[in-house]
């Protein structure tokens, strides 16, 4: 049995004008997003990863390009030790003179991680696994890899390959680009 539409109960906008509510009649154009992660503090890492995952959850294509300090997010030795970035952050709950004291950043990081866990948000390593399983494409920046003396083996296995800037633009064709 098919779907038939009756009058729009809200008024004079005909249902036919908005097409099938199930998008059955829309042309098959897949939206795509390319996110560039250039920072690795928790407050900069989570937004990019969560936005990419959300894109995949609604059927969009998603790719992430890790460059500069963003490489820490996918570096094996660093991924478990990302910090909350409180210095140089005007939203920091404490004055910089206090935040700069030894141990304060670790404390802020601990508090942020606890809050994140309480909201049932996965930690960064799990989120990277989820992204790869969800079909998001993860790439590292070739130039930044060379700058930091990193090999592909130094990165988590979810990263597909290293790309040059021009490779990135090839892959990102048609995508909405987000720089974080």
């Amino acid at each position: 049995m098919g779907t038939t539409f009756e009058k729009d109960t809200m008024g004079d906008v005909a249902v036919a004008d908005v097409g099938s509510p199930f998008q059955a009649n829309e042309p098959e154009v897949t939206r795509k997003v390319a996110i560039i992660c250039s920072k690795s503090t928790l407050d900069m890492a989570y937004p990019g990863l969560i936005m990419a995952n959300a894109a995949r959850m609604m059927g969009m294509d998603a790719m992430i390009f890790f460059t500069f300090w963003g490489l820490d997010i996918v570096t094996r030795k660093k991924v478990d030790h990302l910090h909350a970035g409180m210095l140089g952050n005007p939203s920091s709950p404490m004055p910089h003179s206090v935040m700069g004291l030894p141990g304060m950043e670790a404390l802020a990081t601990k508090m942020m991680k606890k809050k994140i866990e309480g909201l049932d948000i996965p930690d960064i390593p799990e989120l990277l696994e989820t992204l790869a399983d969800a079909g998001a494409e993860l790439y590292s920046c070739q130039l930044a890899m060379e700058m930091f003396d990193l090999d592909q083996d130094d990165l988590v296995p979810q990263v597909k390959e290293s790309l040059t800037a021009m490779d990135f633009w090839e892959k990102a064709e048609g995508a909405q680009v987000v720089f974080i």
Binding site: G2, F5, I50, M57, G59, D120
Partner: protein, 105 residues
């Protein structure tokens, strides 16, 4: 909001095609919505996900996110994308006759 007849039942839909009243849902409606979203046949694994979504929606008052579904059913993230290629975050709820999930994960 609009009214549509799906699989012979008159149902209320929001602007994005999500059913606004979960009580109007039938299994035949699920099959029809699935077909319209490129899923030719609902398998046992699909039903496991759909049944969990409906149960969780009753218990928590909101449809589950993909992560919650994987944790609650044991269906892997990879399988979720194989079952609902056009977006498991949206289609699981839509086919289960629920509103759009509010979670981000």
């Amino acid at each position: 909001m609009s009214t549509a007849t799906i699989a012979g039942v008159a149902v209320e839909l929001d602007a994005e095609g999500f059913m606004t009243d979960a009580n109007q849902w039938t299994r035949e409606i699920a099959e029809e919505i699935a077909r319209q979203n490129g899923i030719a046949e609902l398998t046992e694994l699909h039903w496991q996900v759909i049944d969990f979504c409906r149960k969780d929606n009753v218990e928590n008052g909101t449809p589950p996110t993909v992560r919650r579904i994987t944790k609650g059913t044991g269906v892997s993230t990879k399988d979720m994308y194989a079952l609902f290629p056009k977006g498991p975050g949206i289609l699981s709820s839509k086919i289960a006759g629920l509103t759009k999930p509010k979670g981000c994960i």
